[in-house]
Symmetry: C2
Subunit: 151 residues, 2 copies
DNA sequence: GCGATCAGTTGCATTTTGCTACCAACTGGA
DNA sequence: TCCAGTTGGTAGCAAAATGCAACTGATCGC
């Protein structure tokens, strides 16, 4: 299936801006918490319900949207009747977004005395800080970048 | 002002998770579009209103929240009565989050024939892809990382 | 069969949005 | 000076989204 086929009927907040499209697709508190938990091993309806504490009807709605939008996929569980929700490649690709949010939260949403969970790599050490870079490898910031609108 | 002072009265969805705290602070469609526009030069109430198309009462509310949460700061405009909203350091630090969302959108929210705006560095070329890495510099993915909860 | 668990759906009250109108302060021009 | 236009909001109300609790079925262990 082509990317676009799924989104023909979407009416985007700002169709030409990838940030706005991303927000239209996954820019919802619960959706991103569901994705976070899926990345951390949650698979079943009640996994997500217990971890997030979300209301069951809302969870049901969000899982449906995530299936429609190609972020999650359904799989019959190997034993038993239970269905599992697993991340698609597009869903797994949200990793950078979740990491960016995690790192911002670590820097700006905790006081000196407060502890928080940590995302670690295979070495057991925390990840390096995400650093946007331009095409030549030097650090890019708000001040060194511009949005160029399409023709 | 200490980080924590501003957030003493917040009741977090999941206090120990930086992702959840970030979502509690800025995990809102309109808030992130406002931040996007602030990064692209928007400063006044009506700049934001025109660019996003948001309802004025909601914009008013979101700007107030962003001030409270230390993402935006108010400055009296040099000439005239107009106030300007400018990003704080914490706000500017959301750059990586916005870039991550932009890149995900470019990869997964556009069909082959559709064009979109592009974020370019000083060279005029698009930024490189954000790549989460572990402490040794090798690529980190969903499969090679784990969340370790605090003690 | 019987209770427990899982995966939802339904109904209803509360909250949040979004629209439209309104208002007050200032600005520029005739 | 007067008047229109712009800026930065607030107020009121209808529509949509959310959250809670109860209910439904299907299955699993015993």
């Amino acid at each position: 299936m082509a990317h676009a086929a799924r989104f023909v009927d979407m009416d985007w907040t700002d169709a030409s801006c990838p940030v706005a499209r991303t927000l239209d697709l996954v820019g919802d508190r619960w959706i991103l918490l569901i994705v976070r938990d899926a990345m951390d091993g949650a698979r079943s309806f009640s996994d997500f319900q217990h971890r997030t504490g979300i209301a069951r009807n809302i969870l049901s709605d969000r899982l449906r949207r995530l299936l429609e939008r190609g972020v999650l996929d359904r799989q019959p569980a190997p034993s038993g009747r239970r269905q599992l929700y697993v991340l698609t490649d597009a869903g797994r690709d949200l990793f950078a977004v979740i990491v960016a949010m995690r790192q911002w939260g670590e820097r700006h949403a905790f006081g000196p005395g407060e502890s928080h969970s940590v995302l670690v790599g295979e070495s057991g050490l925390p990840l390096a800080e995400l650093r946007p870079t331009d095409s030549r490898g030097s650090t890019a910031t708000v001040d060194t970048t511009t949005v160029v609108r399409e023709d």
